[in-house]
Point group: C2
Chain length 193, copies 2
DNA sequence: GCCATTTCTTGCCAAATGGCAAGCGGCGCA
DNA sequence: TGCGCCGCTTGCCATTTGGCAAGAAATGGC
């Protein structure tokens, strides 16, 4: 199985050279997740730093009243793990679930730390990924505060049209912070974009 | 000027011992910011890792139409800097402004990196702070999606009652993602809590 | 102490969204 | 093949929130 995508990803922050990426990539283990399976369950400590190469993942939390709230959606090219649980070794508040069959590469917490120690440039990369995720979350927060649900839906679709193929609309709705009825009406007004 | 608060903060992630904290704290420089002054301007590269010991800071961005949107509020005991701009050395999209006269301790990007290099435990601390900020932002995102504006306002006040003393309500409103009129109505319904 | 500005509230109405329930259609499974 | 569940839409109405404008209250500068 080729790890070309993983190598490209390792180089994406600029902290790691092509040669270093090729070596570091060999430390990751391949992993498949079947549709509907959980990569992480609430209550567990997240122990998989997972780079997704194929498929779609969804993160969700449970409301006080037991309703699922979709907190994240991820496709190929993204790292998926529960940041606070993983680094603090505390129980996760979220679930991570495969929406389709998935493939990727992963490291355990221990392996990641060993690699951080052996490879300072990988540590630098790790920070870059954290900073990137932080910035993305801030942008999403700003959009949620300033833009209408319809505008956020349009933006999401333009950025990730592939979601529509495999993600039930109710998950997209709760990711956007609206009900599935409202999303349905927005879609009708948009002319089924 | 005493740096006791700074030392306590350095120990707060568990990565740094008391003795180490005392030494590391000496590397920070004291800094005061007068009310209404900017710690950071959009377009600049954030170069101040600032630990606030006294006063209140506000981060805000400008909408496409020029409206200010309050993206963050911080009081004593918090580190304030623009994560993406600081670590990526890119122009900031946000402003950071003193709402009251402020005092604290700071490091430049260069100083922070030297300290990361000289003190592995401080690097660990740095990651801890990033992870803490990430988790807080996720919690805020979840609340914004799942809770009513009124509930978010109540929660904010309970967590930080001191804000009401020095932060104009319009800033709190835009931080919550609502207009100042709406906040005013919410406060009336709440019985001026 | 006085004036200008900012902050906050309120009234009026429109728009966005939610809650609930019904209905439709597809898909999997027995 | 038929049944039942799941995903999506729609209708009806209530609630929340926004937009705008006016006015009251507080604040700051001189």
């Amino acid at each position: 199985m080729s790890n070309v995508l993983l190598q490209q990803f390792l180089q994406s922050t600029g902290a790691i050279s092509a040669a270093q990426a090729a070596e570091i990539a060999t430390c990751f283990q391949p992993r498949k997740i079947a549709r509907h399976q959980l990569l992480l369950e609430a209550g567990q400590v997240s122990d998989t730093y997972f780079f997704l190469t194929q498929g779609l993942l969804r993160a969700f939390a449970l409301d006080p009243d037991g309703t699922e709230v979709t907190t994240g959606l991820a496709g190929p090219g993204q790292v998926v793990f529960e940041v606070a649980s993983f680094f603090n070794r505390t129980p996760s508040l979220e679930y991570i679930q495969a929406l389709t069959d998935c493939e990727g590469w992963c490291l355990s917490y221990r392996q990641l730390n060993e690699l951080f120690h052996a490879r300072p440039e990988f540590r630098e990369f790790g920070r870059g990924i954290l900073v990137r995720g932080f910035a993305a979350l801030k942008a999403r927060m700003l959009a949620t505060i300033t833009e209408s649900a319809s505008a956020r839906y349009d933006k999401l679709l333009r950025a990730h049209p592939e979601l529509l193929l495999h993600v039930p609309l109710k998950y997209i709705a709760s990711y956007l912070g609206i009900t599935d009825s409202s999303l349905s009406r927005i879609r009708k007004a948009d002319g089924k974009k």
